[in-house]
Amino acid sequence: MGSPDKNMLLDWYRQMVLIREFEETCHRLYEEKRITGVYLHLYSGHEASGVGSMAALRKTDHVITAYRDHGIALILGMDPKAVMAEMMGKKTGSSGGKGGSMHLASKDHNFWGGYAIVGGHLPLAAGIALEARYNGKDDVTMTYVGDGATNNGYFHESLNMSAIWDLPVIWIIENNGYGMGTEVERASGQTELYRKAEAYGIKSFGRVDAQNALEVYAVASKAVEYARENGPAVIEHVTYRYRGHGVSDKQYDAREDMSAELKEWMATREPIKILRDCIEEMHGDVSEMLARHEADAKRIVAESVKFAESSELPSSRQELLRNTYVPSELVHKTAQSIGAGID
């Protein structure tokens, strides 16, 4: 893949402002109790990490991530209405309201979902990639994993297995400096996180400034190409979370060192501004186009909120129980679970 052309860059801008608008809206709706629950992990600040790397994929490739999944869903082209409805637990949500913020997925987009147990999705990623290897397809599985998750057994077992079986996974470690309130330096003996993958013999593409979508794209393109032909690859994305760990983690707001650090990142390494500057440098004044994308993002997100709020909540026992099991002819007719599986 060559360097991105003007249209591609403008489209990245569109994606990034859409994510930012969506996430900041979620944050506001949560404060207003229009989105409820305890978990809502926002992708604000991370935009270039997802946008730049997924731009290196083709339609048949696969994507999987953890609970910080809204941005990933939007980049893949999931309908913001269905995503917002999922935030509100509505029937029209992408998972019918069953999954919520942490469990977005879309089969149509080869998005295998967001997962809430730290590291839990990593072996799934290897399994999805195994299918491609097994059936001789050259599709890759792009897998996002946090810095904190690299200290979990799931990470090590999955990476090692991907190496010995040459599975086409691109392990993208999104290093945003923290797992909840713990700095990378206090959680990981090896602080250059891509080196953990190197230890398993995985091809490393090193560390990337993930606030710069162009740099992310350049490296991801090489890693994808490598993985398609050979086997697993690793990239460490250095990024930052703008809204703390998640909405219910108020202690984050109390730490002065963290809020000073956040200001610094926003002032000097803001991903949307960096992209904008790059586009202008390469293609001159595009402010009209950018303004249009910004206005569109506002309109699209506002419509998604309207749609979500006017949708119904699932409320019946039948909806509660549905999809615990695949309905099957192979199950003895009179065998019973107490409740689950009654359709």
Binding site: G37, K98, G120, N151, G153, G181, T182, P314
Partner: protein, 328 residues
């Protein structure tokens, strides 16, 4: 005796803190227990008071949290290892079930494993399926491990202290829903007021039906008992407090009086606490039984995010009242 209302979170913090002051070998480890002051604020102030040696943040490494505690305990320390929530203790199930619970047995008494695993438990608030478990009975399945599940502040205080001082491994669960709940603690509480491991408690006396519960189920049972009282039904509430060992003598005494029983739990219904208690009652109290034993538990389904169907799945006081009315 003068008493003051104290949130369960505060009672647990106080018990833990006093035990750390009392015994230099007691230390805490877990995710976010030190610098972030504890995800549930239980260990607030501990880092400042006890320092990094005794208040240890861990990486997100549950398997190691579970197993490091076993090794440290075998070697003579008295770890109190925290799982941020009990959902994550599933990752450590092997260390808990195969090592904490069995090391003493398979070396025929050579070692002891004086550790406590603390874990925040329960469901609600749209935490979603993988973060919505009250799986205490799973852990109570394994001989060699004790399981304590307090329902109020005073119990939590005395139970945690006994758990820390005992030389056996204990899984101590703390209902997230009960953390902020105030209940009375006497002002002149003795630092050595322990609640014996395996001792249940009658939380309300009554003569018409026995409600057996633990942890958050006790709240639903007590609320149901108050509602039933308005209809002239006098329910006795037995809080077992520990799932292992099990104070069945207390249940039997109550049952001999009431001859009817409803079992209340937050957990799932199949292969459950309710199933265990019901089986023991029919084996041992058959002659006293005037009606089928009823069980109130969560719906047999993973918990959804969406709030109305989430509430449908949860047990509550009304479901307890309905179950009692079916057997009166």
């Amino acid at each position: 005796m003068a008493a003051r209302n104290v949130a369960m979170r505060e009672a647990i913090r106080r018990a833990l803190r006093e035990e750390m002051q009392r015994d230099e070998n007691v230390f805490v480890m877990g995710e976010e227990v030190a610098y972030w002051q504890g995800t549930h604020r239980v260990t607030r102030g501990f880092l400042e008071e006890f320092g990094e040696r005794r208040v240890r943040d861990t990486p997100i490494s549950e398997m190691a949290i579970g197993g490091v505690a076993v090794g440290a305990a075998m070697a003579g320390l008295r770890p109190v290892a925290e799982f941020m929530t009990i959902n994550f203790a599933f990752l450590a199930l092997d260390a808990i079930a195969n090592h904490a619970a069995k090391v003493r047995y398979f070396f025929d008494g050579m070692f002891k494993v004086p550790l406590v695993y603390r874990a925040a438990s329960g469901w609600g608030n749209q935490a979603t399926a993988s973060h919505s478990h009250a799986p205490e009975p799973i852990f109570a399945h394994f001989p060699g491990l004790y399981v304590g599940c307090p329902s109020n502040s005073l119990d939590a205080y005395g139970m945690l202290k006994a758990s820390i001082r005992d030389d056996n491994p204990v899984l101590f669960t703390e209902s997230i829903a009960l953390y902020p709940k105030p209940s009375p603690m006497p002002d002149d509480l003795d630092e050595d007021s322990l609640i014996p491991i395996g001792k249940g408690d009658i939380k309300r006396e009554g003569s018409d039906v026995t409600l057996v519960a633990y942890a958050r189920g006790v709240d639903w049972a007590l609320q149901a008992a108050r509602n039933l009282a308005r209809d002239g039904v006098d329910a006795e509430v037995v809080d077992l407090r520990w799932l292992r060992p099990l104070d069945m003598a207390l249940v039997y005494d109550s049952f001999k009086k009431t001859n009817r029983c409803v079992i209340v739990e937050e957990s799932l219904p199949m292969y459950s606490f309710g199933g265990e208690i019901a089986a023991l009652l029919q084996e041992n109290m058959f002659d006293y039984m005037d009606a089928p034993i009823k069980r109130v538990a969560a719906e047999d389904v993973p918990l959804p995010y969406s709030k109305e169907i989430e509430l449908l799945a949860l047990p509550n006081a009304q479901k307890v009242v309905d179950a009692v009315k079916e057997i009166l």
